[in-house]
Symmetry: C2
Subunit: 340 residues, 2 copies
């Protein structure tokens, strides 16, 4: 570095950061430090630069920079089971003292015995009964308090940390990077809206009004002269597969220009996003890291999982359409914020 340049840089510290520091220190200004350099990271950065370049052909006004994210398996783990199912099982156990009859009644008995095989054997009907029993019968505000309390104490069985600390760090960086570039980020998840809202702001920086999910029916009622919403044991809407497009259209009313998922349940959301005109980014988190997280893609032992399967035909569609597959193993240098 010649004397003149050194002098200039000393006078312009902000400029100096990007040019003069060592590579290790330069990384601090990288908005995606948990992403390894490679095709996935390049695709993200190239897309954002394109749609924010006012002089370019792919410029998109900030108001139309909508990005939608699936939650389970895309922003946090969905194994060994969906977090919301873990919550439901915990709730059943907490409610059991008031329901002595559950000791002899399936699927409750199976939950209380910790017999997950018997829970699974109760099938769709049993699962719905567990979900409705644990999620309905209280007001919306009471339910929010129950969920908030649960997040404070419940831990992931493998990672031994509160679920609220298990956001995928690279995806948190992606969310922040998009927002810093004028995007509005939404969750569009098969999970329950009211189960997600108590944690999305803290975990992902996503406010309640940008959380789209499944819902159960609620009923307006006056209690002590005050209006409340009572949660009813009846499904209102399932925000999965084609439901995601329906919900995006109903709630946002704009087609996303970027969408991220991890399983067959996100296919229609990505198709819908992909079909719009102009630059698009579709990304799929690929669970191929059994060491640091889980592996359940095609060819893995868990590929027939009930918790976010990524079948071969989804991989084929991604390849054909240029959807970016984020390999957890190769693209991410850390999974969780606490990883060293």
């Amino acid at each position: 570095m010649n004397i003149l340049r050194r002098h200039l840089l000393a006078a312009v510290p902000a400029l100096a950061i990007g040019i003069a520091l060592t590579p290790a220190l330069r990384a601090e200004s990288d908005p995606l430090p948990s992403w390894n350099d490679g095709a996935s990271k390049q695709a993200i950065v190239a897309f954002v630069e394109k749609v924010t370049n006012e002089a370019g052909p792919d410029f998109v006004a900030s108001a139309d920079r909508i990005a939608t994210f699936d939650n389970d398996g895309t922003l946090w783990p969905s194994h060994p089971m969906y977090t919301q199912l873990a919550f439901a099982l915990d709730r059943i156990k907490a409610m059991a003292p008031e329901h002595p009859e559950w000791k002899d009644k399936q699927p409750f008995k199976a939950v209380l015995d910790g017999d997950m095989k018997a829970v699974a054997a109760s099938g769709q009907k049993g699962l719905v009964e567990l979900m409705m029993t644990s999620h309905a019968g209280m007001t919306a505000m009471e339910f929010a308090a129950i969920v908030t309390d649960w997040y404070k104490t419940a831990q992931h069985p493998r990672f031994k940390k509160p679920y609220s600390e298990l956001a995928y760090q690279p995806m948190v960086e992606l969310l922040a990077y998009l927002r810093a570039n004028g995007f509005k980020t939404y969750i569009v998840s098969g999970g329950g809206i009211e189960f997600m809202r108590p944690m999305t702001e803290k975990m992902y920086g996503i406010p309640p009004e940008q959380v789209i999910g499944s819902s159960i029916m609620t009923k307006f009622e006056m209690q002590d002269g005050k209006p409340v919403l009572v949660r009813l044991p009846e499904v209102e809407f399932i925000d999965d597969k084609a439901g995601k497009q329906v919900a995006i259209n109903r709630v946002i009313g704009k087609r996303p220009i970027a969408a991220f998922g991890n399983s067959a349940g996100d296919r229609e959301m990505l198709q819908w996003t992909d079909t719009g005109a102009g630059a698009r980014l579709m990304g799929l988190v690929f669970h191929d890291d059994a060491v640091r997280e889980y592996a359940y893609g095609p060819a893995d032992a868990l590929e027939d999982t009930h918790f976010g399967a990524f079948p071969q035909d989804l991989m084929d569609e991604a390849t054909e359409k240029g959807w970016v597959v984020f390999s957890m193993k190769d693209d991410w240098n850390k999974i969780f914020a606490s990883d060293m």
Copy 2:
């Protein structure tokens, strides 16, 4: 004014506007110029000052400054009929050449004959048939194009202007005033979401994702290899009365701190808003100006209207609970932007 002060003001033009100009010119900096000075305007300003005063006991963080607005009768006229019904009737007429059988079939015959009495006589069933025929059967994008085209040409029968020019100017000012003070403004209307969205941004400064309304079912379908949403002739959700609270909870997930309506259909939304802790503002537009618009409150000839009745018990509840009644006649010095 002494010399020093005059000198200072000359040097600080922005400060001078508020202090030195004549009252007529000062009004230019009034954010609510179409509101007459009086209790309604004072209630609005006092509320906004309270919730934005960081040092005060009623301060509300910007993220929680949610204000919800009914649309028909609150932001634009709902007489002589809901605008969306006028659209439906126009659509039926436009579609008639492809349906020669309608000439002899009710309720279509009544529409084609312009016989509104016979339309009304077809009852709820007839109206639903007209709505579904005019609103379903096409994709969501096709419907948006149809609505957008209609707004370009359709005129209000009395005011002889496009509907899109008939926003109530005082309410447009109220929306802008709230947003300038960190509020997020939503429409929460019984009208169809997809019917409103093509005009809410232009008329009210409200983007598509802040429009909550009624909806019909949609179906994901592949057409020529591209995913589309086909509108089905089946009601998904009616965003009226208690439905407004349900939808606010589902979509926004926060309780509004301000809510505005004009009829019995807005009662539950105002009750829900009112029941929260801290400062609240509930306002009801009262149609008592038959000269400049319409009069259909209690004691008016139109009080049994089907298009936004304001019954006596709503007036009683407003009085009892301190909800502010905006008299169009007394509180507003103009109704529409084009009024002199």
